[in-house]
Symmetry: C2
Subunit: 327 residues, 2 copies
Amino acid sequence: MKSTVTANANIALIKYWGKKDFDLNIPQNNSLSVTLDGLTTKTTVEFSSLYKHDELILNNILQSIEESKKLISFLNLIREKANINLFAKVISENNFPTAAGLASSSSGFAALALAGCDAAGLNLSKKELSILARKGSGSAARSIFGGFVEWAAGKIGYDESSYAMQLYDENYWPEIRVIVLVLEEGKKEVSSRSGMQSSVFTSPMYKSWLDTVNLDLISLKRALLEKDFTRIGSIAESNCLKMHSTMLTSNPPLIYWNANTLELVKYILELRKNGLEIYFTIDAGPQIKILCLEKDVLNLKKKLNSFDFINKIIDCSSGSGAFILNE
Amino acid sequence: MKSTVTANANIALIKYWGKKDFDLNIPQNNSLSVTLDGLTTKTTVEFSSLYKHDELILNNILQSIEESKKLISFLNLIREKANINLFAKVISENNFPTAAGLASSSSGFAALALAGCDAAGLNLSKKELSILARKGSGSAARSIFGGFVEWAAGKIGYDESSYAMQLYDENYWPEIRVIVLVLEEGKKEVSSRSGMQSSVFTSPMYKSWLDTVNLDLISLKRALLEKDFTRIGSIAESNCLKMHSTMLTSNPPLIYWNANTLELVKYILELRKNGLEIYFTIDAGPQIKILCLEKDVLNLKKKLNSFDFINKIIDCSSGSGAFILNE
């Protein structure tokens, strides 16, 4: 009753920011992401009668009951499905900063869903795993799959209606790259979970966001089909800026960027004006993800090296979905 | 045929960002500003048969024909009204950075309208001056007046329908202060004129901006009547962030902030969380204007002194409208 799984974080090109069903974690809109091979979570789950309570060791640190609450409710979902009554020990490790806007919850809950089910003897389909992972963290629904993934929003009250599916696998477009720039490793002040709720209820721009996000999605899917990098980059970047404008106009304002984020955003726009075709996307944290093509990676990295405040540069390609590592 | 005039820049609490009539400079929405005693333009206009062309000396620098184009068309309006056929020499000086988002065109064209008319022997009402100044630069319509000023948008095609009026004069509320933080003295990359046009046509958030700005205006006028500083600050700040979100989502993105702007925005939000009641507003440039009450000015300035990157702190109260200085 033990299983080890690896899963990759994903970065949304069409963002998810706001739920329409808070109980079921059903989002306001469809989103589209690329799963990244450089941001990986490895998770081992063991159910055993030897354990007297659930225990979570995250990045080598034993978590308190308070810190493990989300995990415990998630394990309860698995125990219910498997009809078992055992506590679990969960050991999870990210090879990148946790809870800093690098989508650690996407890889985290995708890995946990698969490892937990496997350890509990459940053999779910990917769709079922996606539905389950979603209840841990919305974006985890997408990390079950590799490559390019769409998460269909689904309907309020219908658990089974909201799940992700693979559009193209990780071998579809090896030339596309996501360069992740880690600027700050601390935990963010306002979690995505509460931030997005605030935007839904308080931002006067939220309606415009929703009104336009589906067109972005359709256009981006078309551009993906045609491997039209210019359109993908432009749509992803403007979609990201729209999301951030709903954050900025929330009450109180949600500002996930820091001064260095802004400096880099302007630098990226400048580089693009000068002919280097790169685009950015940013999530609920200060980190920047640059979309580019393989041919420009070396040149870009050389330029980025001049910024002292970039703590880490993680060069990612589209990666695989969650899979079981057991020997 | 010579007149010297002084006029103050104004800072909008309810912003103007976008025209509905490009020929007449008629804005999409009503706006509301406070005229500031610390940002002053002094302008002398002389019409004379001795001059062989129009000449503009701005901040002691003789401007080229290219740089004087807006001035020349503006002088043409005055010459037409006054039925004179003389060239002019214009000497204008700002006691603050020019074209960096500190509303220098508001005081500039307000002073020019009054000085030009006075030098040409025209005696216009303030309403007429406001209509005239508007054609030089929209926000100049407001700087004709002191204190708190509303600019009524007016109707497309109706020149006389779009003008400012004074809500309260400069003595109404001496305790309110605007602390202007100059972060960067250079000219902005994208002028307000072309930036706002881009937002009207390309930002998917522009409609939400327009849909909500009138409610902001009504609420802010009510709060002004009641001298309710908390509401004034909150409304002004969120109105500013909405405008910036239309900028951010324009295509290409318009980012007038720099890294230091963002750092200060976060600092101001932090100070407010800790009990210091201050609010910010930002226009089409990196500079920050802090709204506060007189009682907090000393404390605030002490805190701001720790930021090396603030080039200048200009402490303003509500100031007077344009007036003639001639001895």
